[in-house]
Symmetry: C2
Subunit: 330 residues, 2 copies
DNA sequence: ATGAAAGCGCTAACAG
DNA sequence: CTGTTAGCGCTTTCAT
C-alpha cells in the first residue's frame, strides 16, 4: 500500500499539496492538481481511513441499531437507509440490540470511541438521559421511536393515528368485540404506548368497551400469532376481530385460526400492521396499516446528514402518513 | 475523551506500561497492572480504534456482502453471522451488492484501505481473479457461493444434492411434467449452476425429458413467482409440478395460481427452497428444501476467524446437509 | 519490569 | 499558491 508521501514524491510535490487535492481544497493550481491525480492513479493510492479518522475527521460510517434484522420491517428500513447512505458515500454498520440494553450500550460506546460518526436508533432500550449523554460524541437520531418529551432529533410516524385508523376501520365494519395484540405491555409509558393510545381512543370514541381478556401483550412473531389463535379458540366469549401489531402476528393468527376451524374473516377478522410482502401471501390476504418505510428511511438519513453537516433540515411530515390497505382478512 | 497518556499520568506510569496492560503483554507487575486498570476505569477510558488501526492493528470489523438484506435467506444468515461475531468482539458491516459488480468492487476496496479486517462474500459478481487479487489485503471467504476451481476459502452447501433431493421427491410422487424456476440463466457456468446440475441429474436418472418451455430463468421474488403462474396458465401443455429456487418464488406461484383457479398441489405441485418462515404461511403450506442457515453462518465466521488468526480450521461438513421438509404444496 | 522516543499516514497551522 | 512541520493516540523497539 502506498501512502501520501509516495504520491507526493511521484508527483514531485509536497504531501500538503497532495492532501489539499484529496480534500478538494482551493488554492491548488490546475496543473499540479492533475499531476497529483496522475500519481494517485499510477500508485493506485487509497487514503488510509484510519489515519484520517485519527486526525479527527469523520469515519463516514453511520451505525444503525435495530432490534433484529430478520424482522422484515427492519430489513426493509435498513435497506432503504443503506441505499441512500451509499449515494452519499457513507457506509452503514448494523447493530442488533436483541432487546438487550447492554448490547445497545456497547454500540453507543462505538460513537464515543469515534468508530462511527453517528447513530440511527430504530430501537431504544436505554433511558433518555443515557442516550442524551452520548450525543456529545456525535449525532443520534431516533427513527420510529420517540420519547415523550423529545429532546433528541426524531423522525417518527404517527402511531397513534395508525392504530386509530385500523381500529376505526374495524369499528366501521360493525365489529364491536375487538381484541388487540400489542408488542409491548399495554402500559401508559412503555413500548407501543402510542398505538395503545390510538386503540383506546378509537374504542372510546365509538363508546365500545375494552375487554381485558382480549388484550395480548408482547406479541411479535408468527408463533406469537398462532398462540393467540389457540387462546382465542378456547375462550367462552370470543372476539369477532383482532387488531395486531404486525403482519407477522396477523399471519400467525390467520394460519392457526383456520387450522382450528375458525373462519377468517367471517368468524374472526384480522388486521395487520406494516404491509409487509407476506401480507399478500396468506389466504385470506391481510388487511393492514401501511407504514411508509421508504420515506421514513430517507428522511431519517437526511436528518442525520444535516446534523453531521450542521445545517438545518425540515422533515416533510406529509409524506410520513400511515394508510389503510384493505385486502381480505378484515 | 481521555487518552492513553491521561491514563498514564493518573496511574503515575508511562504510556508504554499502559499500552502493555491494554494488550495483555507479559512483563508487567501485578501491582502496576492494577493501578492501570483503576486509572482506566476512573477516566472511563476507551482506546481509540483509529489510532490502533493506524498502528497496523486490526479493526475488529468484518464486512459481509449480500445481494440484498431484505431477502429473508440473507437476513437470517447475516443475523447468525452477527451473533457469533459479537461473541468474538467483532462488529460486522453489511454491504448490499444489489447484483452490481461496481458496488461489490467498492466494498472490496475497503479491505485494501484497511477499513475492515476481512470480507465474507455471500454473493459474488466479480471474476475469481479480481477477488483473488484482494486477498493480499486480508482474508476473503465465500459463503454459499463458490468457484469451480476454488482457490478461495469457501463454506458452501451441496446445492447439487439439494436440488437433486427436491426434484427426486417430485419424481417419486409420480410427477413427470416438471417445470423449473432458477435464479440464474440455466447456463453451464453461471449462477445457480449447481442446482441446475442437480435438476438435470435427477431428471436424467429418472429418464424424464426436460422441456425448455418449462424453464424459467432469473426468478427471485414473489412477483416473479406470480408471473410464472400466469405464464403457466396460458400454456397449452401445462406442467404438473414446479421446482423453484426459493420459497418466495414458490409462494408467488401458489398465490397467483389459486387466483387463476389452478389447484395446488392437485393441478400444480410447488416445491420451494430455503424453508423460510413464510413457507408455513401460504395455503397450502410450502414443501421445501431446508438449508441449514445457522450452521452455515457459524462455520463461515469460524473459518474467517481462523484465517485472521492464521490457524487451521476444519469445516464440519456433516452439519451442512440439506433436507427435505414436506408440507402440503407438493 | 519499565520508560523514552520513534514513527504509523494524515491534516492544518504557519511561513514563505 | 506551495512547502515545512507539529501533532492526532497508539504500539514497539531500544535502552536501562
Amino acid at each position: 500500500m502506498s501512502n501520501i508521501s509516495d504520491v507526493a514524491k511521484k508527483a514531485g510535490l509536497s504531501v500538503a499539496t497532495v492532501s489539499r487535492v484529496i480534500n478538494n481544497h482551493p488554492y491548488v493550481s490546475e496543473e499540479k492538481r492533475q499531476a497529483v491525480y496522475e500519481a494517485m492513479a499510477e500508485l493506485s493510492y487509497q487514503p488510509s481511513s484510519a489515519a484520517r479518522q485519527m486526525r479527527g475527521q469523520s469515519t463516514k460510517i453511520i451505525g444503525v441499531i435495530v432490534p433484529r434484522i430478520t424482522n422484515p420491517f427492519f430489513s426493509y428500513l435498513v435497506d432503504e437507509i443503506q441505499q441512500i447512505a451509499f449515494q452519499n458515500a457513507f457506509q452503514i454498520m448494523i447493530f442488533q440490540s436483541n432487546e438487550s440494553s447492554e448490547k445497545e450500550l456497547s454500540f453507543l460506546e462505538l460513537l464515543a470511541k469515534k468508530q462511527i460518526d453517528g447513530i440511527i436508533m430504530c430501537a431504544v432500550e436505554q433511558d433518555q438521559e443515557v442516550i442524551q449523554e452520548f450525543t456529545k460524541y456525535g449525532p443520534i437520531v431516533l427513527c420510529n421511536e420517540r420519547f415523550d418529551n423529545d429532546q433528541l432529533p426524531t423522525v417518527s410516524l404517527d402511531q397513534v393515528n395508525g392504530a386509530y385508523l385500523g381500529v376505526n376501520y374495524l369499528l366501521e365494519q360493525g365489529y364491536e368485540k375487538i381484541a388487540y395484540a400489542t408488542g409491548g405491555q399495554f402500559e401508559e409509558a412503555g413500548k407501543d404506548r402510542d398505538r395503545n393510545k390510538g386503540f383506546n381512543q378509537a374504542m372510546a370514541d365509538a363508546k365500545v368497551p375494552i375487554k381485558s381478556e382480549w388484550l395480548f401483550v408482547n406479541c411479535h412473531t408468527i408463533s406469537d400469532g398462532r398462540k393467540i389463535a389457540r387462546e382465542i379458540s378456547k375462550m367462552s366469549d370470543v372476539p369477532e376481530a383482532i387488531f395486531t401489531g404486525s403482519d407477522e402476528v396477523a399471519a400467525g393468527v390467520i394460519v392457526e385460526a383456520q387450522k382450528l376451524g375458525i373462519k377468517v374473516p367471517l368468524e374472526l377478522a384480522v388486521l395487520g400492521f406494516d404491509d409487509q410482502p407476506l401480507a399478500e401471501l396468506t389466504t385470506p390476504a391481510i388487511t393492514t396499516i401501511r407504514q411508509p418505510i421508504q420515506t421514513l428511511g430517507k428522511e431519517t438519513f437526511n436528518l442525520m446528514l444535516s446534523l453531521l453537516q450542521e445545517r438545518p433540515y425540515q422533515i416533510d411530515g406529509t409524506k410520513l402518513q400511515m394508510s389503510l390497505v384493505i385486502r381480505e382478512s378484515a
